[in-house]
């Protein structure tokens, strides 16, 4: 449906080594929702704008529905591509009513029909997002969530082949964001429309996607099903970006089919092996904060002893920063462990099935970004 081949975008003033989009190959199947996920400046929005026709690629090719829309010697502007787009700011035209906003794509097309038909189609689109009653309101009078729905109705009214969503949720507050996220996914699946969704928020990406494409430095780091990416990231960048905050290094002592024994400072862990490691090799281990059992008493000799450095209460969980012999790890505990305070001694038992193993320095496509987990709701692009 959408096919990107060797796509490169350079903005004036940047060096060639610093391409905003640096050779992207991507196929999006019909009806699929693909998320481009990455930190600010990773090229995800630029990629979306290239697909939309709002930017001209420096090289590479884009085809939509089998037709080349950008490539050597040819370029179709956004107004000639079969797309609908929802912007981060929604871009609702403030000088028009809600209905006029949604009717606009029908009126400017070359093949617009009678006014009554256009009105009916626009109203149907508004009905699809539950805003039919707001048709004659001035657009600026709507709340953020409503503007967002108008933007969605406007993007869909022309019945485009491709729907493009540029951080559509990042300007909404937390509760509304979850509701709109569900709604976007519901509409997308009902229409079966091919969709590209850009976000810097891993939760959003995991929640709505058929496939997640992790990007960094203008390139694709890895891609896969949301659950694959989340559970078994294949690169350090992805692991860190998805909130796997504890890293340690170790040495492979034994390899036994699917499992590997790895010596770390606190003892030996028996973990799921990854490709390309062999006994004696140095490896990196990644552990999610929730992959530990934390207790005051030592249950087992292999437990790691540590002391609480500080704790943060998150509402539904506690985050404890525990100082071990050589490193500090972050441990998340969902059941109440009240009363742990700075300096208390605790014992940690890592969940060996959840340890992610990677060859040290290998399988890492790019250095981690400065800020590992962008805060929600922050505008980070451009």
């Amino acid at each position: 449906m959408i096919k990107l081949t060797g796509l490169v975008k350079r903005y004036p003033g940047r060096t060639v080594a610093n391409n905003a989009v640096d050779g992207i190959d991507l196929d999006v199947a019909e009806g699929e929702l693909v998320t481009l996920l990455g930190p600010s400046g990773c090229g995800k929005t630029s990629t979306l704008r290239l697909i939309a026709g709002l930017e001209r690629p420096n090289s590479g090719e884009i085809s939509i529905n089998g037709e080349v829309v950008a490539g050597p010697g040819c370029f179709l502007g956004a107004h000639r591509r079969p797309i609908g787009i929802v912007f981060q700011s929604y871009a609702i035209w403030p000088h028009m009513t809600v209905l006029e906003n949604v009717m606009f794509p029908l009126r400017v097309g070359k093949h617009h029909g009678r006014r009554a038909d256009m009105r009916a189609r626009a109203l149907a689109a508004l009905d699809g997002v539950g805003l039919a009653d707001f048709a004659d309101r001035p657009a600026p009078a709507l709340s953020g969530g409503q503007q967002q729905r108008v933007a969605l109705a406007r993007a869909l009214v022309r019945e485009p082949t491709v729907l493009l969503l540029d951080e559509p949720l990042s300007n909404l507050d937390a509760g509304l964001r979850d509701r709109m996220r569900d709604e976007i996914r519901a509409v997308q699946q009902r229409l079966g429309i091919t969709t590209v969704f850009v976000t810097h928020d891993q939760d959003e990406a995991l929640a709505v996607s058929d496939r997640v494409v992790v990007m960094n430095g203008g390139r694709i780091v890895e891609q896969g099903l949301p659950q694959e990416i989340y559970t078994w990231p294949r690169s350090e960048f992805t692991a860190r970006f998805l909130g796997v905050s504890n890293t340690m290094s170790g040495t492979v002592t034994a390899l036994d089919g699917e499992a590997a024994d790895i010596a770390v400072s606190g003892g030996t862990l028996r973990c799921r092996a990854c490709e390309g490691i062999e006994p004696g090799q140095r490896v990196s281990l990644f552990l999610r904060p929730e992959s530990f059992r934390l207790s005051r008493r030592r249950h087992d000799d292999s437990d790691w002893a540590g002391t609480i450095a500080f704790s943060i209460y998150q509402g539904d969980c506690w985050d404890y920063h525990v100082t071990l012999a050589e490193e500090t790890v972050k441990v998340r505990v969902y059941r109440e462990k009240v009363g742990l305070a700075h300096g208390d001694t605790v014992y940690l038992k890592p969940d060996e099935d959840a340890v992610i193993v990677m060859p040290e320095g290998g399988a890492v496509d790019a250095p981690p970004p400065v800020r590992l987990t962008p805060r929600r709701g922050q505008r980070t692009d451009r």
Binding site: P12, A52, G53, L54, E67, V68, V69, G73, C74, F75, L76, G77, A78, H79, R80, R81, P82, I83, G84, I85, F87, Q88, S89, Y90, A91, W93, P94, H95, F104, P105, V108, G109, H111, R121, A124, A125, D127, G128, V129, A151, A153, R154, A155, L156, R158, E159, P160, T161, L164, V187, R190, L191
Partner: protein
């Protein structure tokens, strides 16, 4: 959305790269760029050319030479000319900046009960054109019959000679002080008063805070304002011509006019002085921009904080009195004088006896005199056309420089702001020279078109000032959403940009119309028998000693300008209410 039917064919064959430049977007943008470049560069270029030719517009062979420069700079009296011009401009800059910033400090930083004057003062230079202000003060301080001099004489004080350098400085100061005042208000309100509070809490006494913190922080704004007042003063026509020339006190501007009026006209000298004034203005402007760019007040955030207010205590009312005097001098006295003279058949000082002779006869004469009605019509045509052209042109240029990444757009932005640095008088001479000398297939000299060309060029920076911020306020995504909806560029411009920009477009149109309507420094070189505009007509009548008609015409001008200014304020207020 439940009614999804088959997708209509919304794709078309791809456009090859080469044809991009034939799209309307590129044609319109390219056209605007050519026009702006022509307007901005040709007059200045022509004048520089003329200053370097042995003869210009004359018979005989012309060669490249520095002769004009040598002749002008070594002529007897050139030293006095430079001294007069610089003295006049520097003194005016000093007076207007000290007064303007002082008043601005009182309004923004103290509890003076003068806030009402703040808004009126801002409108004065718009409503009372320089030529009328000059005429009014010449009448007020007329040596024999001027009411103010009669008061002085009655008090056994020496009379004030308005036809002198001091008189010129005084009148020009009354005209530009409101502008300096506005710049002062901007500087004081954008300054974070927590900087002053920090000094106070460090133990500094208020006077010390004012000296070491407040004054230091506004110093760049003061210097920059002084430079701008200097440039404005050195390049305007009316005050030196009306008040200096009768006393043989010449400055650059009146010397240029004199050299063009004499026979045979000395085109070379005019061009040399023009280039000289141009260089002064350009250098001054560049320095002023450098100063503001490095100003510490630039670091102030855009939040609407309230500046700290100093309690003046007992000094509140004396400070208020200062404002009353300011208001009297800049508004009431000149307008009252014009009105009074316009109602008398021949001028006489205010008295009860004179009251009985009041009549509207001068106004009737106004409407009976075809040449006066012509000047009204000419002013309307030239000002409105200039306003319209500037608005359309700067809308396209601002779009091009702000919203596109077309190569060379910075050059266009520079070109559109060049006329700021070109004094109106230089613009007038440059336009005149070009259309007299250039081998063009049409003749603009003696038509209204040549005035419109000059007014458009002078108005370009004003248009940019409104439309630049206006266009940057429009989020890029609003345009992109239209594009992604299938709208082509022309449709997007018409349906998205024009409606959203309407307040800025109207403000730019009305403001440039006002500027063109008041304009005399360029028009004085470009008018001919049938193309006199009102400002020029005022000068003309004044030179003929027809003071009563001048006054009546002036009152009509003020009324017209008041109406336009009123519309501007209504429009901007309505739109700002709507958009909020």
């Amino acid at each position: 959305m439940a009614t999804l039917t088959e997708t209509p064919p919304i794709h078309e064959p791809a456009v090859p790269h080469r044809r991009r430049f034939l799209e309307p977007r590129y044609l319109i943008l390219f056209g605007a760029a050519v026009v702006v470049a022509y307007l901005a560069l040709v007059p200045v270029g022509t004048m520089i050319y003329a200053s370097l030719r042995s003869t210009f517009l004359g018979l005989g062979p012309a060669t490249w030479t520095f002769g004009n420069y040598v002749r002008t700079f070594t002529a007897s009296g050139f030293g006095a000319l430079v001294a007069n011009s610089f003295g006049y401009a520097a003194a005016t800059a000093l007076v207007s900046v000290v007064l303007g910033f002082g008043l601005a400090w009182l309004v923004t930083r103290t509890n003076t009960p003068a806030k009402g004057f703040a808004r009126i003062a801002a409108l004065v230079p718009l409503i009372i054109p320089g030529i009328l202000n000059t005429v009014a003060w010449a009448l007020l301080f007329s040596p024999q019959t001027g009411p103010l001099n009669q008061v002085l004489r009655a008090a056994h004080l020496p009379i004030f000679d308005i036809y002198s350098l001091r008189g010129m400085i005084f009148v020009q100061s009354t005209h530009v002080t409101p502008i300096a005042y506005l710049m002062g208000v901007a500087a004081f309100t954008s300054m974070d008063s927590s900087l002053e509070e920090a000094a106070l809490s460090s133990g500094a006494r208020p006077v010390r805070v004012f000296r070491s913190i407040t004054l230091r922080l506004v110093r760049p704004a003061i210097l920059s304002a002084a430079l701008l007042m200097f440039i404005q003063t050195i390049s305007t026509f009316e005050v030196p011509q009306l008040l200096g020339v009768p006393n043989h006190t010449f400055v650059f501007v009146s010397r240029m006019y004199d050299a063009l009026q004499s026979f045979p006209a000395d085109y070379g000298t005019v061009a040399v002085i023009g280039v000289f004034v141009l260089v002064i203005a350009a250098v001054g402007l560049i320095v002023s921009q450098r100063i503001t760019k490095r100003s510490p007040t630039q670091t102030v955030t855009g939040k609407g904080f309230r500046p700290k207010v100093t309690d003046l205590g007992r000094w509140r009312w004396p400070a208020f009195a200062v404002f009353v005097v300011f208001f009297l001098v800049t508004v009431v006295l000149p307008l009252a004088m014009l009105l009074w003279s316009s109602l008398l058949p021949t001028y006489r000082p205010p008295s009860f006896a004179a009251l009985r002779t009041l009549s509207l006869r001068n106004y009737l004469t106004l409407f009976d005199t075809p040449s006066l009605l012509d000047s009204l019509r000419n002013s309307a045509i030239t000002a409105l056309s200039a306003g319209l052209i500037v608005t359309v042109l700067t809308a396209v240029v601002a779009y091009l420089t702000i919203k596109t990444r077309i190569r060379g757009r910075w050059l266009l932005d520079g070109l559109a702001t060049v006329p700021i640095a070109v004094p109106s008088i230089v613009m007038g001479v440059g336009v005149l020279y070009w259309y007299l000398a250039a081998p063009l297939p049409f003749h603009l000299y003696g038509t209204l078109a040549i005035l419109i060309v000059a007014f458009v060029t002078i108005g370009l920076p004003y248009g940019m000032r409104y439309l630049g911020p206006g266009i940057s306020q429009i989020n890029d995504e609003l345009e992109e959403a239209a594009s992604a909806s299938g709208a082509g560029w022309t449709q997007t411009f018409r349906r998205i940009y024009v409606p959203l920009l309407m307040p800025s477009l109207l403000a730019a149109f009305l403001y440039t119309t006002i500027v063109a309507f008041r304009e005399i420094s360029a028009a004085i070189f470009l008018y001919s028998q049938n193309t006199e505009v009102m400002a020029v007509k005022v000068y003309d009548l004044w030179s003929n000693g027809d003071y009563s008609t001048v006054a009546a015409l002036g009152v009509v001008m003020v009324l017209l300008l008041t109406i336009v200014v009123g519309v501007v304020r209504l429009v901007t207020r309505r739109f700002s209410l709507e958009s909020s």
